[in-house]
């Protein structure tokens, strides 16, 4: 094997989730069950050597994984008109120029830092990274140590459909947006405000209730419902979870009885499910986990997700809204 290629692949995959890379390869028709990073690196290097994939494709996949894996997506809409020229002007005011390609985020920056801004057709995409501090106890030294953790945040906005999403990494206890511990809202609000400034609009959280209702109730279902949580008309909250295996909670007799009694008026709140590949018209090659919280207008995905899987989830929810 070419050692140069191997070294370059090793460098490219340094911070990437192996599960995400495996999923990306599978999505591109390259089945491989490598369980270790070393075997995955060797496998990818071989594919590049045989010209079955290119470095450019691999780099783009790693960027996509960085922008999708483990993210909490907050879904928004906006009412105002927003033109690409107005966005370009606003980006220029912030000292940003439009790039032609996506880039990896800068790891562990000292302050929130833009990686790139692209405007392709009607779709604006801006990526930032910042550093959070995760405390841990060093019992031998009897003191608290702080680990730097890089966080990646991505704004995706469609100027034509007036829909936007901000993809966040989960915040750590200490972050640059608050002097006090936790206060995660100040982290989320910082980027929501920044997005409003760039777009020149007021972002309104999307109502996901209708989409979730269709997703859960329409048959044949696009998802396997793993956990369902709802408030009934007596304002009581109920939830049900499949404890093990790949069952669907909707097949449980007690769930069915409860649904038959009053399901048509349930207020769906938090639902965890897997998108079914057999109902995805070839868009998915595996079951993809999502957790939707209608109160926060958010969608959470697993760490091993990649771009196309997250885009599928968002697209389906938007279609059902």
């Amino acid at each position: 094997m070419d050692k140069k290629i191997l070294a370059q692949v090793e460098k490219t995959l340094h911070n990437a989730s192996i599960a995400s890379v495996r999923s990306w390869l599978k999505g591109n028709g390259k089945k491989f069950s490598a369980g270790t990073r070393d075997r995955m690196i060797a496998r990818v290097a071989t594919l590049i050597e045989k010209s079955e994939i290119t470095f450019a494709e691999l780099e783009d996949a790693i960027i996509g994984i960085e922008e999708a894996g483990g993210k909490l997506l907050v879904l928004y809409k906006f009412d105002e008109d927003c033109t690409s020229s107005a966005v370009k002007t606003q980006l220029a005011k912030l000292g940003l120029t439009i790039a032609t390609t996506r880039q990896l985020a800068k790891p562990s920056p000292s302050k929130p830092t833009v990686a790139y801004a692209t405007l392709q057709g009607d779709v604006l995409r801006v990526k930032w990274s910042e550093t959070h501090n995760k405390p841990r106890m060093d019992f031998d030294q009897d003191k608290v140590e702080y680990d730097d953790v890089s966080k990646v945040i991505v704004l995706v906005a469609n100027l034509k459909t007036k829909k936007a999403e901000i993809r966040y990494d989960r915040p750590e206890i200490f972050h640059p947006h608050s002097g006090s511990a936790k206060a995660k809202d100040s982290y989320f609000n910082y980027y929501a405000k920044l997005a409003e400034t760039i777009l020149g609009v007021k972002l309104i959280k999307s109502e996901l209730q209708k989409a979730l209702k269709k997703l859960i109730e329409d048959q044949p279902s696009l998802v396997r419902l793993h956990r369902g949580g709802h408030t009934n008309q007596r304002n009581n909250y109920f939830s049900g979870t499949v404890r093990k295996g790949e069952a669907d909670i909707r097949d449980d007799d007690e769930y069915k009885a409860m649904y038959a009694k009053s399901g048509n008026a349930w207020s769906y709140e938090d639902q965890s499910f897997y998108w079914r590949p057999d109902r995805s018209d070839g868009a998915l090659t595996r079951q993809v986990f999502s957790h939707v919280d209608t109160l926060a207008s958010s969608l959470r995905v697993d760490a091993d997700c990649w771009d196309a899987e997250v885009e599928y989830a968002v697209q389906k929810i938007r279609e059902l809204q």
């Binding site: 209730q209 209702k213 408030t231 007596r234």
Partner: protein
């Protein structure tokens, strides 16, 4: 039966009239089932409308003096209500949850706007 204020509003806004009547019937149903408050998103699910629309309709009922706004502090882990307040200023930054057996800070709490159904209406429904 609709209050005079709502009746007059319905006459002036014929497109909203059916929704006002539906919400009024829904409130009556809640009172009959010993439910003393209405949650906008739950009302929205029942009426098949958006939460924003439910909130706007409840605003009309508020003006008519049929409901009263209240803030419930909710544990995001158990979804139970830890305290109810009539002014945002009264809402504490942290609260103890008996079900979790620990003190929650703002990151584990959410504030939910609910509308209490006024007592006169409750008494009428019970009569």
């Amino acid at each position: 039966m609709l209050s005079k204020k709502l009746e007059s509003f319905s006459e002036r806004n014929s497109t909203l009239a059916p929704l006002i009547e539906q919400l009024d019937s829904y409130l009556t149903w809640l009172v009959e089932h010993n439910v003393t408050e209405v949650i906008p998103r739950v009302a929205a699910a029942k009426l098949g409308i958006s939460e924003a629309d439910a909130l706007a309709l409840l605003g009309l009922f508020l003006e008519a003096g049929l409901v009263k706004p209240r803030y419930d502090l909710v544990c995001t882990v158990t979804k139970s209500v830890l305290g109810s307040y009539y002014s945002r200023d009264e809402i504490p930054d942290d609260a103890e949850c008996r079900l979790c057996d620990r003190q929650h800070d703002a990151d584990e709490l959410r504030v939910e706007l609910v509308f209490e159904i006024v007592k006169g209406r409750a008494a009428n429904a019970a009569a």
